[in-house]
């Protein structure tokens, strides 16, 4: 056998993929399942502690299920709630991959949504095929700009994005309040801070009105799916995505490899902001129809949880967003049927993340759910 042949053989062997190992499966499937179960149990404990009786707890979890997947309307509501979560979550996931901890989705959503509304009513004469996409674009660009500030600060001065994005959130609340009181933004004849309405031509069309006029599912769901595909492609198939991931995993190695760290930070942050801005635009153009103070309703913070739960992977984010959307939709039903406050959902969500982000904790609680880790793994 010649040297070349043996080299070829060695080469072919190196190209074989190993079967996914058991730990990977445990981390991807078993840990989230356990996390969710524990969170529900602890949620029930919380309810018990606040004087809710067992029957009501049972009823509220049934309502949670029915309200999220029990009917066409429930599914529609789940999707409606999931769309902005997935969009913003994708942006955050992209940031995490690039090593940026962007807490600022909330502010980016507000700024993006506001821009979409203003663009919509300012150019209300344009036809639907132009106005709607451009309004979305206005939202995305504004979100990108707003997040870009934090990215630029990080790149140019080293200001940590965690603090600067938190501050930008706080600033965005005030800025929104201020904008909503300006005469050219505020709805005529109103004293409270409410923007003019989005014209019909800028709205994301409802998809299921032919079935039942109350179904709120709108075309944003396509935006969401496109965004998932786009982010997947961007992260794992492109040079830019490789650069994002490399700078996230090891900034020093990325610099060594000739990647332009500052530029990557700004681009990654702006892309994340664009997705969050899109989420905001999607809310105002598809659901709310106008901007009011704090219309983001905490989506930007829930999206952090979505991104973490989805392990910063676009497909994971999609599923995590659907799950959280289901919790939101079901939570509303729960409030109606069982009188349990929707804030309980926030507790459950936080608990899910605790257990997801600390797999060691889940392993410690449920040792029997996992194979013994003694062998074959690095630390």
């Amino acid at each position: 056998m010649s040297v070349n042949e043996s080299l070829d053989a060695a080469r072919d062997k190196l190209l074989q993929r190993a079967a996914p190992d058991r730990t990977e499966f445990e981390d991807l499937v078993i840990v989230p399942l356990f996390a969710f179960a524990v969170a529900l149990i602890l949620g029930a404990v919380t309810m018990l502690a606040t004087g809710v009786d067992l029957a009501t707890i049972g009823r509220s979890y049934v309502a949670l299920l029915v309200g999220s997947v029990g009917s066409v309307n429930a599914l529609s509501e789940t999707l409606v709630a999931a769309i902005p979560l997935v969009l913003a979550g994708l942006g955050l996931a992209l940031g995490f991959r690039a090593g940026l901890f962007n807490i600022g989705a909330e502010g980016q959503i507000l700024m993006g949504g506001l821009a979409a509304v203003i663009f919509g009513f300012t150019f209300s004469a344009l036809p639907f095929v132009i106005l709607m996409p451009l309004s979305l674009l206005a939202g995305a660009l504004t979100g990108a700009f707003y997040a870009g500030i934090a990215g630029w600060l990080r790149a140019a001065t080293g200001a940590h994005e965690v603090i600067s994005t938190i501050m930008l959130n706080l600033i965005s609340y005030r800025l929104l309040d201020y904008m909503l009181s300006l005469p050219w933004v505020q709805r005529e004849g109103r004293a409270d801070p409410v923007s003019r309405s989005v014209p019909d031509a800028a709205e994301l069309p409802r998809l299921l009105e032919w079935l039942d006029p109350n179904l709120r599912l709108h075309a944003g769901v396509f935006v969401m799916l496109l965004a998932v595909a786009f982010v997947y492609w961007l992260l794992f198939r492109t040079k830019l995505g490789f650069e994002f991931r490399a700078s996230g995993a090891s900034p020093d190695a990325a610099r060594y490899a000739g990647m332009h760290a500052s530029l990557i930070i700004v681009i990654a942050m702006a892309t994340a902001g664009a997705l969050a801005g899109l989420a905001g635009a999607n809310q105002v153009l598809g659901v709310l129809g106008r901007a009011t103070p704090g219309f983001s309703a905490g989506i930007g913070f829930d999206a952090i949880a979505v991104a973490l739960l989805g392990r910063s992977h676009p497909i994971g984010v999609l599923f995590a967003g659907l799950l959280f959307g289901a919790l939101q939709a079901g939570g509303r039903q729960m409030q109606v049927d069982a009188g349990v406050g929707i804030d309980l959902i926030g507790i459950i969500q936080a608990l899910v993340i605790v257990f997801i982000a600390a797999p060691l904790l889940v392993r410690a609680i449920f040792p029997w759910g996992f194979r013994n880790r003694q062998k074959g793994t690095h630390q």
Partner: protein
């Protein structure tokens, strides 16, 4: 005080770092523990000093078995260790570092730093270890930091001193001084374990030698009768050739020309001071010097990772002083970086991804904005096979490879393209002998192809073995230059230059 390790086994997950190791050391002797990198020397000593707990086996002191649950227990038992990587808090003073953990205090838990300083002065006077107790650690050269480490151990009145590769950061002259200190400690009745992978050192200082290979004790010997060749064979497990074939030096044109280069650190202090250098094709230029004398900054300036404050760098006739890292890379500058874990590769990425870390944008692997992963994987497999990178597949995480294979991965990535110059910083630090030999042969192959090769290493033996010319850096300047092809320089000559004594 006599200490015995009995049948110690220590595992890290699947890695067995120590297997059934039995060892003893008595008061008033120096035990030399020899073993190549990765043999498990540091792990064994970390077990002895209470940092790790053994999976099996026990530690016996003066005949009674003991159990250490933390380093405090070992310190209390009189065992002190000077770690391979110094354990000093850079922003604390010498005195604060020395007393940390056994601080003298007054009322209200008030730190008594006066007493601490006085004690430090006393110990330094007694053993001839001059240091200023009030100096901040980060302002001290490594040689002095090592003295602080020893004072730290003595301050705790240790009877057993473990010295883990203590000479790695010293110049040959400092090593001599250091041996003097070790002997005086031994004569004061301390038991000393001296760890190294350098044969001449162990022959000079040890009273007894134990050899560790792949986690096991594979031999004991008497320094009076042992020879370097024997010890080397026991240490590596096969005959070793230390000489690298450097015949056929055919230096060509000047390829890399550095003129009056000055480089500043982040805090605006001078790292490289007005350095001029020329590297020709087909020659190896070695940069010697004690760590922290500007070699790293020089290399980073050449490869574009640090800006040049003054001066010019020309490569293949082009001025690259302000060129980007990537532009230099495209011109054919290969860089094997100093810190392979942090800079050279991304442990979380696959072998294939790491293989194209700095060339993923090349038309061979990318079309438009996209990376062609099929092409990448094919090429990565070819390169891994050609450079003997032992991995299960190119989809395995680079972090799962052994140190030697990680370094071979980097060498494969850097050398398997068309290069004109190779800049290698600490190319074999911490590697086993097999990997070292392989990487040396690859560097010599690059030289044979007519590349300009620049090697920076803190191992003087490595510099001497590979280089056609040698320059010595001290405090950011080039203080001496030797042409090895005219006359092979003496180690002591280079050592004096490394210590700043003009040649």
């Amino acid at each position: 005080m006599d200490v015995e390790l009995k049948a110690i086994t220590k595992r890290f997950g699947a890695v067995v770092a120590n297997k059934d190791v039995t060892l003893q050391v008595r008061a008033g002797e120096v035990l030399g523990l020899l073993g190549e990198n990765g043999a498990g020397k540091s792990t064994l000593m970390n077990v002895l000093c209470g940092l790790y707990r053994p999976d099996e086996g026990q530690i016996v002191i003066n005949g009674t078995p003991v159990q250490f649950t933390n380093p405090g227990d070992a310190i209390a038992a009189g065992i002190g260790m000077v770690h391979q990587h110094f354990m000093l808090v850079p922003v604390f003073t010498v005195a604060e570092n020395v007393v940390l953990g056994v601080e003298p205090v007054g009322r209200l838990n008030h730190l008594d730093l006066k007493t601490a300083s006085a004690k430090v002065r006393e110990i330094s006077a007694r053993y001839g270890l001059t240091v200023d107790p009030d100096a901040l650690i980060e302002t001290l050269p490594v040689g002095v930091q090592q003295r602080v480490e020893i004072i730290k151990v003595l301050f705790r009145s240790a009877d057993v001193l473990i010295l883990d590769e203590p000479t790695a950061v010293l110049t040959p002259q400092e090593v001599e001084d250091f041996f003097g200190i070790v002997r005086s400690l031994r004569d004061a009745g301390k038991a000393i374990i001296f760890i190294t992978h350098k044969l001449n050192e162990i022959l000079e200082i040890a009273d007894r030698i134990s050899v560790l290979r792949a986690g096991r004790i594979v031999g004991e010997s008497d320094p009076a009768t042992a020879t370097k060749a024997d010890l080397a064979e026991v240490m590596v497990g096969r005959p070793v050739h230390f000489e690298v074939d450097r015949s056929g030096a055919a230096p060509g044109d000047a390829m890399l020309v550095i003129k009056d280069l000055t480089v500043l650190r982040d805090d605006n202090t001078i790292a490289v001071d007005n350095v001029s250098l020329t590297v020709r094709g087909g020659e190896v230029l070695g940069i010697a010097g004690v760590q922290g004398n500007g070699q790293s900054a020089l290399i980073q300036a050449i490869t574009g990772l640090m800006p040049a404050a003054r001066g010019t760098i020309r490569f293949l006739g082009q001025d690259i002083t302000h060129a980007s890292v990537r532009a230099r890379h495209k011109l054919g500058l290969a860089h094997i970086p100093e810190d392979r874990q942090r800079m050279g590769l991304i442990p979380d990425f696959t072998v294939a991804e790491n293989m194209v870390l700095d060339s993923y944008y090349d038309p061979r692997y990318a079309r438009g904005p996209q990376v062609q992963w099929d092409a990448v994987n094919q090429w990565a497999a070819t390169a891994a096979a050609a450079f003997d990178v032992r991995t299960t597949s190119v989809f395995a995480k680079a972090g799962h490879l052994s140190g030697g294979n990680q370094q071979k991965l980097i060498v494969a990535r850097e050398l398997s393209r068309d290069t004109k110059a190779v800049i290698a910083a600490q190319p074999t630090r911490g590697l086993d002998v097999g990997s070292i030999e392989y990487i040396h042969s690859r560097l010599m192959a690059a030289r044979a192809e007519g590349d300009a090769v620049l090697i920076m290493s803190s191992e003087l033996d490595e510099i001497l073995a590979l280089s056609d010319r040698i320059v010595v850096m001290f405090k950011g300047r080039i203080v001496a230059e030797f042409d090895a092809n005219v006359e092979k320089p003496e180690k002591s000559q280079i050592g004096l230059a490394m210590a700043g004594v003009a040649a």
